[in-house]
């Protein structure tokens, strides 16, 4: 302890100690000289003898300082101050380096934080590794390409819970969709889930306030509800008094009993509900008599926790047996027993357990996992290119400091010591860049979440940088610091003091450029990869946008209204919708208006059914036609501009009392009535009255399939408007102020009617290509950044080359070389470097593009046009970067240049 104190004291008194040591050594020298003089030498000779005897003073002082105390710490401190001083003296270099590093590290961190939130992070629950999600693997012919689903029926859950011995807990849940939550007379929309009573206890999370569901609370008359942290803050002002407060959900009274912890955003990434109610509360919210007994419906997500020491395989084997038992039992007692596809499902389907440590299946994750990983690579490459630039700049500086370093080596500084010092300098740069990166990453992460949010509010994702992300940033900064600092440090200190000191300062630029050339070639090669990628993604986006969708996305406004949320029973909803439609049709500027259940572009849902009766004949199960269906009002096809090929659109007379009619698309006509005119034929009980062109309702990537349209006025009441809401489409001439007019029109019918997802068809279509747009935008941005950085590197190298060859160029000019010749001299080297970069980069780009293949559309990873454009762009910009130093070479004064030698 006293030793540490003493050392500390010494550290603080360092200045004084230094002076004392100086004085002590001076005294020694004088004594020595005096002695030598006594021995008969002249004063001059004696002084030199004393100096020689003392040896390397700098080294001696260094050794003595090492004994004083925390030398390494102190050395570091001194290196740090030295580094700061050097950077202050070169503010241009320092700010350029810090800025490019900050951008590079910030971009990496932002994308990493999103990747972490969407793909990597485990759920904030107890022992997340034990969580598994139940999935059905289905026989292939039943479902096309989607041969797995995660939805189950209630009787299966009951049996799993009762019989499983391998699971320590099994819970289930289902989305309630959009809810209207009333509180103190105001109402607002919220997203809700219904879950079994053990949901929170199996997850093992504790409420932030209040409590979670208790045993026995999951029953039909349950009135308890738990709210999410974010909803609690946004809607209820984070008031803890909300516990025990009465709210209404779709006009039905509930009591808030708890608030989830802040970090808990649900168990499916990007799909965090605002409110949870017990599963059996469905009996009040959406009564369905068959819900608890139908064994073949699929509407519930099931997940659970493995028992201690139980492997996923063991649990899966047990649960698969239970599944088969319960289905076989129910099948023999059901009228569905005769249906081939149901038998097939029971016989050939299996239950599989999916690890759910990072959450249950999520559409967001499925969509963005690959793009985010690609972007992570892209951002990493940009950082590499930026690092290479800084390495090159440091190399250039190291060579201009040759003399300084030679002097220091001659004075006895060890090479390790100098390397440490140069590395300290690059570390300071890297850490400054890292510090700049933190706010950039924060902002970038937020921006990215906005970019991938399609709904009315941002996707609930926790992207605010946490410890993991900070650790990532710090590691990233240190790594880049070493990466770009080590080579200059090693090479810069490999100096032979003698010759280096003899060189004039103007020779400082002379050095071998091999390492610099390699770095620049690597930069060009990496840029090729990024620009090719950007090109592929941009072309993909263009192609997708230019696909003929079968509707016209210009000048159409869409909005959804839910009458049920305003308290209308299903049988009165139709009248409300009809009234709204009439009002919308007469709005100024509106050319036509219509209503439908599903929108032309829809990322939320689509409706699927099977047609197994054609003109009275029953098709065997396997040949039933899988159709998507929609219910539309008269005027829908003209409003969205889907051409009517034959027959007629629905009309007002196609009401509930009229004979049943349908409109089909060309695909369905081809499948059900090959080579025949479908008009007048029957599918099920309904007669085909119209034939429309195919429209790509599932997005531009998917080929249109069979679609069946029912008249909303006839089919809606029959289905009792099951989904509650309908979408209205308006084709307008002038869109200005239209939305306000629409809101007033809807409010004039009933001010309580909630309007949501009001946006133009064009905006919705753009959103459906969000992932592609994200990839195209960000990869273009990063590609351009990499190109810019590579060109800066190229420019720097060529400028250095011109400086190095000043004398040679001067002589050439003196001997009468033409300007073109001199420019070509420089450009030739630029060209060679670029070609070398292209030669290395193109195979790399081809290899990398294969990984992005599933995100491309109608374009080969080795698209020749993209490749050609990349090569042209890179060569062009590189030549520009080389031309500036080449021009400067012409300004060399031959006389001055030759005199240098």
């Amino acid at each position: 302890m006293t030793r540490i104190l003493r050392k500390l004291r010494w550290v603080t008194r360092r200045g004084g100690k230094e002076a004392e040591l100086q004085e002590e050594l001076q005294f020694h020298l004088r004594e020595e000289a005096r002695e030598a003089e006594d021995a008969g030498l002249t004063a001059e000779q004696a002084r030199w003898a004393a100096r020689r005897e003392l040896g390397n003073v700098a080294l001696l002082m260094e050794d003595t300082r090492a004994i004083w105390g925390w030398a390494s710490l102190e050395r570091f401190w001194r290196d740090l101050r030295y580094a700061m001083r050097m950077l202050r003296r070169n503010p241009g270099f320092a700010s350029a380096a810090v800025l490019s590093l900050g951008l590079g590290i910030g971009a990496n961190t932002a994308i990493f934080s999103l990747l972490d939130a969407v793909v990597l992070r485990t759920l904030p629950v107890a022992s997340p590794r034990q969580l598994v999600q139940f999935t059905n693997t289905l026989p292939l012919w039943d479902t096309g390409s989607r041969n797995a689903n995660s939805l189950f029926a209630y009787p299966q859950l009951e049996r799993f819970q009762a019989q499983s011995k391998t699971m320590s807990g099994i819970f289930a849940g289902t989305g309630l969709g959009r809810l209207v939550v009333g509180f103190h007379g105001t109402s607002g929309l919220a997203d809700g889930d219904a879950c079994t009573g053990n949901f929170f206890s199996v997850l093992g999370i504790a409420p932030q306030y209040g409590r979670f569901f208790q045993a026995g609370e999951d029953r039909a008359r349950a009135t308890v509800a738990v709210i999410g942290d974010r909803y609690w803050r946004d809607r209820f002002g984070a008031d803890p008094a909300i516990i025990g407060a009465a709210i209404t959900i779709n006009q039905i009274p509930f009591t808030v009993i708890g608030v989830t912890p802040r970090e808990f955003l649900g168990i499916s990434v990007g799909n965090g509900p605002d409110i949870w109610v017990p599963l059996h509360a469905l009996d009040r919210l959406a009564p369905d008599s068959k819900r608890w007994t139908d064994p073949f419906s699929s509407w519930m997500l099931i997940a659970g926790r493995l028992g201690p020491g139980v492997s996923r395989e063991q649990a899966q084997a047990e649960l698969d047996v239970i599944r088969r038992q319960v289905l076989a039992e129910r099948l023999s007692a059901s009228e569905l027993g005769g249906m081939e596809n149901v038998r097939h499902f029971v016989r050939d389907g299996h239950l599989a357990l999916r690890p759910a440590a990072t959450g249950v299946s999520s559409g967001l994750r499925d969509r963005y996992a690959l793009p985010l990983k690609l972007l992570m690579w892209v951002a990493g490459i940009v950082l590499l290119v930026a690092s290479a630039n800084i390495a090159n700049l440091l190399l250039a500086r190291a060579s201009s400091r040759r003399r300084e370093i030679a002097v220091r080596l001659a004075l006895g500084a060890s090479r390790g010591r100098l390397i440490r010092q140069v590395l300290t300098e690059s570390m300071v740069l890297a850490l400054a860049g890292g510090a700049l990166a933190v706010p950039l990453a924060w902002w970038g992460g937020w921006l990215l979440v906005r970019m991938i949010s399609t709904g009315d509010s941002p996707v609930p994702l926790a992207v605010a940088p946490d410890l993991r992300v900070f650790a990532f940033t710090a590691a990233m900064s240190l790594l880049t610091g070493i990466l770009f600092g080590l080579a200059p440090a090693l090479r810069g200190t490999r100096v032979d003091p003698g010759p280096a000191m003899k060189e004039g300062t103007h020779h400082a630029g002379r050095r071998s450029c091999t390492l610099d050339q390699i770095l620049v070639v690597a930069q060009v090669a990496l840029s090729v990869v990024l620009i090719t990628g950007a090109g592929l993604f941009v072309r993909t986006l263009q192609k997708l946008w230019n696909v003929n969708m079968g509707y016209d996305r210009e000048n159409v406004l869409m909005l959804s209204v839910d009458a049920r949320l305003a308290g209308y029973p299903s049988d009165r909803a139709g009248a409300v919708y009809g009234e709204i439609l009439e009002k919308l049709r007469t709005l100024p500027g509106v050319q036509s208006a219509s209503a439908s259940v599903v929108r032309p572009v829809e990322d939320q849902f689509h409706l699927v059914d099977r047609v197994d009766q054609v003109d009275g004949f029953t098709l065997p199960g396997r040949y039933a036609i899988r159709v998507e269906w929609n219910s539309t009002s008269p005027g829908y096809f003209s409003t969205v501009s889907t051409p009517l090929l034959a027959g007629r659109d629905f009309e007002a007379r196609d009401n509930q009392t009229a004979p049943k009619v349908i409109v089909i698309n060309a695909s369905l006509a081809r499948t059900a009535f090959p080579n025949r005119n479908p008009l007048g034929h029957k599918l099920g009980e309904a007669t085909v009255v119209g034939l429309v062109k195919d429209a790509r309702l599932n997005g531009a990537r998917e080929q249109p399939g069979p679609v069946l349209y029912y008249p909303l006025l006839q089919h809606g009441p029959e289905q009792e408007y099951r989904w509650g809401f309908v979408s209205f489409e308006l084709r307008y001439g002038a869109g200005a102020g239209l939305l306000d007019a629409v809101r007033r029109a809807v409010a004039s019918v009933d001010p309580n009617l909630p309007i949501f997802q009001a946006r133009t068809l064009r905006a919705e279509a753009e959103q459906s290509l969000l992932k592609e747009r994200l990839l195209a935008t960000l990869s273009s941005f990063f590609g351009a950044l990499a190109l810019l950085l590579a060109c800066v590197g190229l420019y720097g190298l060529m400028a250095c080359t011109v400086a190095r060859r000043t004398a040679e160029i001067g002589i050439r000019l003196a001997l009468g070389a033409r300007c073109g010749h001199i420019i070509w001299l420089v450009l030739r080297e630029t060209l060679w470097l670029t070609l070398a970069g292209l030669a290395a980069g193109i195979p790399l780009a081809l290899w990398a593009a294969r990984y992005a293949k599933s995100d491309l559309f109608e374009i080969s990873p080795a698209d020749p046009l993209t490749m050609a454009a990349t090569v042209a762009a890179l060569t062009g910009v590189a030549m520009l970067a080389g031309y500036i130093p080449a021009r400067r070479a012409l300004r060399i004064d031959p006389v001055m240049a030759v005199r240098y030698e």
Partner: protein, 118 residues
């Protein structure tokens, strides 16, 4: 720290430390005088490197075996005079015993060589 380097430095330092402590037993002295004394008493066999003398002095001071004070030398200049502390006296005794044992052992091992025929 590198171990081979450490053992080498330790060995050299150990000897020098002992010599410094022994010299200071006679009374306080400055660095130059210490070096000259060692040289003289060893009949010039031991040449003290200044490059290691001052680090050694500072190390001994740091360990508390010797203490330093600035005083006027005979020449009238300020000089740093070192003297032995009680702790250093104890250390010197221990080192001396250790050295005696060591040199006796070395002597025992090395002496039979003389008897062997050339």
């Amino acid at each position: 720290m590198n171990t081979t380097l450490a053992s080498r430095v330790e060995l050299l330092q150990g000897t020098l430390d002992l010599l410094i402590l022994r010299t200071l037993r006679l009374g306080r002295a400055h660095g130059h005088a210490i070096a000259k004394h060692i040289q003289r008493t060893s009949e010039e066999l031991l040449q003290v490197e200044t490059g290691s003398l001052y680090p050694a002095l500072h190390r001994l001071e740091a360990r508390g075996w010797i203490a330093a004070a600035w005083e006027l030398a005979e020449t009238g200049k300020r000089a740093k005079y070192y003297r032995l502390t009680p702790k250093g006296r104890k250390q010197l005794l221990a080192e001396q015993t250790k050295w005696a044992t060591f040199s006796r052992a070395m002597g025992l091992v090395l002496s039979p060589l003389d008897e062997e025929p050339v």
